[in-house]
Symmetry: C2
Subunit: 203 residues, 2 copies
């Protein structure tokens, strides 16, 4: 059924979940995320549509079909299980987990995925704090708040990191901004400008 999707296909599907705001994603955002041109993303969206993985309403956006959703969760599961393995057992640097696990995920057969999950003790979250979809495809997204929506002065716990680029992750890592960390918002510059944070336990 999941006839074996190409690496590229898996990346598109995963990207859709990762930036899936309410399920409909603009093709342009997909393109940006995947580092391809809008034209290329558009072509690919057509192919994905033909395969029944997404549905595309021109000028509106793309959304995952049932099948696409299942496939995407499966990719996410592999990705995040590998992140756990690389972090806990191979002691790989936190900031590189996403990148390195991403390469492995496309090469992982179902029996390896499930054996890996068992080996790891069926973890429910990856080292970036994101939930790991279950083997049956069930997947409950985090209930949390984007940092941008936190009022100035409030103190929060970091639930998960959404960034995926190694550089961005390293930036956070260097400042100790990891899941579980506690911080308060000191200042928010206008026009989506920089946030000034105080990390609890640092000065």
């Amino acid at each position: 059924m999941l006839t074996q999707l190409s690496e590229s296909t898996e990346m598109y599907l995963k990207a859709m979940v990762e930036l899936g705001e309410g399920n409909v994603v603009a093709v342009g955002r997909l393109a940006g995320r995947l580092g391809v041109t809008n034209v290329s993303a558009n072509e690919m969206v057509h192919r994905l549509t033909d395969q029944g993985l997404v549905s595309h309403t021109p000028y509106k956006g793309v959304s995952l079909t049932k099948t696409g959703q299942a496939a995407a969760c499966n990719v996410l599961r592999r990705q995040r299980l590998w992140e756990c393995f690389l972090y806990e057992h191979l002691k790989i640097e936190w900031a590189r987990l996403y990148e390195l696990a991403c390469a492995l995920e496309h090469a992982t057969a179902p029996e390896v995925t499930e054996a890996l999950s068992i080996f790891l003790g069926d973890p429910k979250f990856c080292p970036r704090g994101n939930p790991i979809p279950a083997a049956d495809g069930s997947f409950e997204p985090l209930i949390g708040v984007s940092l941008r929506e936190v009022p100035v002065g409030a103190t929060v716990h970091v639930l998960a990191i959404n960034a995926t680029e190694t550089d961005a992750l390293r930036y956070l890592q260097d400042r100790g901004i990891l899941p579980g960390c506690e911080m308060s918002v000191m200042e928010a510059a206008p026009m989506d400008g920089p946030l000034t944070l105080r990390i609890v336990g640092q000065d």
Copy 2:
């Protein structure tokens, strides 16, 4: 330097080591092993030559250059380390190790390879009995004898399995023909016909 080789390139290089009889391999045998036509293998050999990975003497065969040798050993190292991991930690069926590890090997960054080796305790042999090249590329092939060369009546220990196809491996697995097993050659049919073996400990 090892600029990142394509999956296909890595497969060709690995195949050359695996069936490297005295280092010069006929293009036809490469094609057979990789399941492509002779024409395709020939084209690919050209590309590999252009990349300085192999050297090809028409009508004679192909051999690995220094660079190609190093790259091939590196692939082999990844392959066999993953075999160890899949077998010892994920409890994957012996006959499927090659196939599943093969997929992972191409997606494995250097730091993952080395961290994996440490995690596994720097194993020297894979579950098929073949040596794992060292991180520096050093690699001493096994000293053993092909079963076809064993005289009738002799008793031998199985040092390593060379087969890579899952079906062939499963055939051996089902008969308990694994590294370490002891057997004697009862009969050898002419013209490279079947061998009749007695496995020590079985009747």
